[in-house]
Symmetry: C2
Subunit: 190 residues, 2 copies
Amino acid sequence: MALEHAILVSLLEKPGSGYELARRFERSIGYFWTASHQQIYRVLKRMENDGWVDVRDVPQQGRPDKKEYRVADLGRAALSSWLHDPIEPESVRHDLAVKIRGAAFDDPTALIREVERHRQAHRDRLAHYLAGEARDFTGPEANAAGPQAPLDAERELQHVVLRGGIAYERMMIDWLDGVLATLARFGPAR
Amino acid sequence: MALEHAILVSLLEKPGSGYELARRFERSIGYFWTASHQQIYRVLKRMENDGWVDVRDVPQQGRPDKKEYRVADLGRAALSSWLHDPIEPESVRHDLAVKIRGAAFDDPTALIREVERHRQAHRDRLAHYLAGEARDFTGPEANAAGPQAPLDAERELQHVVLRGGIAYERMMIDWLDGVLATLARFGPAR
DNA sequence: TCCTCCTATGCAACTCGTTGCATAGCAAGC
DNA sequence: GCTTGCTATGCAACGAGTTGCATAGGAGGA
C-alpha cells in the first residue's frame, strides 16, 4: 500500500487540504498514482489518528473553510522507513492488452476505434507532460537561476519522474501504432 | 473488472484447470494481468455459477485429479460484449516513482540499490520476453509454415501484445538508467 | 522414516479501491 | 427566483485483491 506514502510526499512538497490533494492527484502526482477524493479523505483521517499529519482549520472567505494538513515527525519517519524498505516490481494490469488478445475470438477490426481512442488519450497526456516540462524544467524561466545554481534534489527528482512519464507515453503511442497496423491487416480479409 | 475476461481469453486460447491458469498468470497472461491462485479459484467458481464456463473432472495418475474448465456460450457472449464496451485508459500505480520523488526528503543515494534491483528485474523480464519471441514468433521453427501461410489472428495478436511488453521493458530500463544517473549526482555532494 | 517439494483446490479475514449518495456555502447567469 | 457549477467534506455499501492458513496425494532425497 502506498497511497499514504504518496500523500506524505505530496504534503512534504506542499501542505494542503484533502480537496487540494484530490486535485493534485488529477495532475502531477496522479501521473503515477491515482486516487479519488473519498479515498483521500478516508486515508487522511487515518493518518491524522496515527499522528502522521497535523491539521489546522483555515477559514476562507467566499468559499467553505478547509483543513490544511502538514506532515508531522511521525509521518516523516514512516515515509523514511518505507523508502528504505525494498518493494517488488509492480504488478501490471493492462485491460487493453487483454482486449487485444481477446479480439482473436471476436471481430478484430471492432477494436480499431477503441485503440485509436486510447492512442489519442496518450497523445494528449504526452502533450500535457511536454508543456509541463517546458514550463517547469527546460523553459527560459525555469533556468533563471543559471547553470551555476545549486542542485535542487526535489526539482531534479520531479524532473526525472516526469521524463519517465514522457517516455512511457511515447512508448505507448508507438506501440498502439503497431497494434493498429496489425488490426488493419485483418480488415479486408473479413 | 477484467480478471474474468482475462480468464476467458486464456481459456479460449486453451482450456485448463485453475492450477494451470494460475501458472499461466505467472507467465504469458501474467505479463499484463496478475492474479493469485486464490483469486482465480474464487472467480472460476463464480463464472461456473453464472454459466460462463463448463467444468469437467479429469482423473490423473501420479497426481491429484483436476477440474478442466472451458468457455461456454454465455462466457463467449460476455467476452464479446466486454470487447465492444469502451474502457478508460488505465490508471497508473507506480510505487517506484513515488519513492523517487520522496527521496528528496530523505537520503537520495539510499535509493540507488533499490533502483538497480528494479532495473535488473526489468532486464530479466526483457530477456525472458525476447527468448519467447524468438521461440514462438521469429525463430526458424515459428516460420515453418512459410511466408505464404494464412494470417492467424490469434498468433498475430499475441505477438503484437508481446512486442508491447518488450517495448515497455526497454523503456523502463532506459528510464532507470536515467534515474540512476540523477541519483549518482547527489552522492558526492553529501 | 521423515522432510521437502510439486500438483491441486479451497476458505476466511482483512485491506484497498470504486460507486453512489449527501451536505453545504457561495458565485454567476438566465 | 432558479439552476448550474465550483469549493469542501464526508458516509455507506460493495467489489477487488492480498495474506494466511488448510488439506491431500504422490515423488524424491537424506
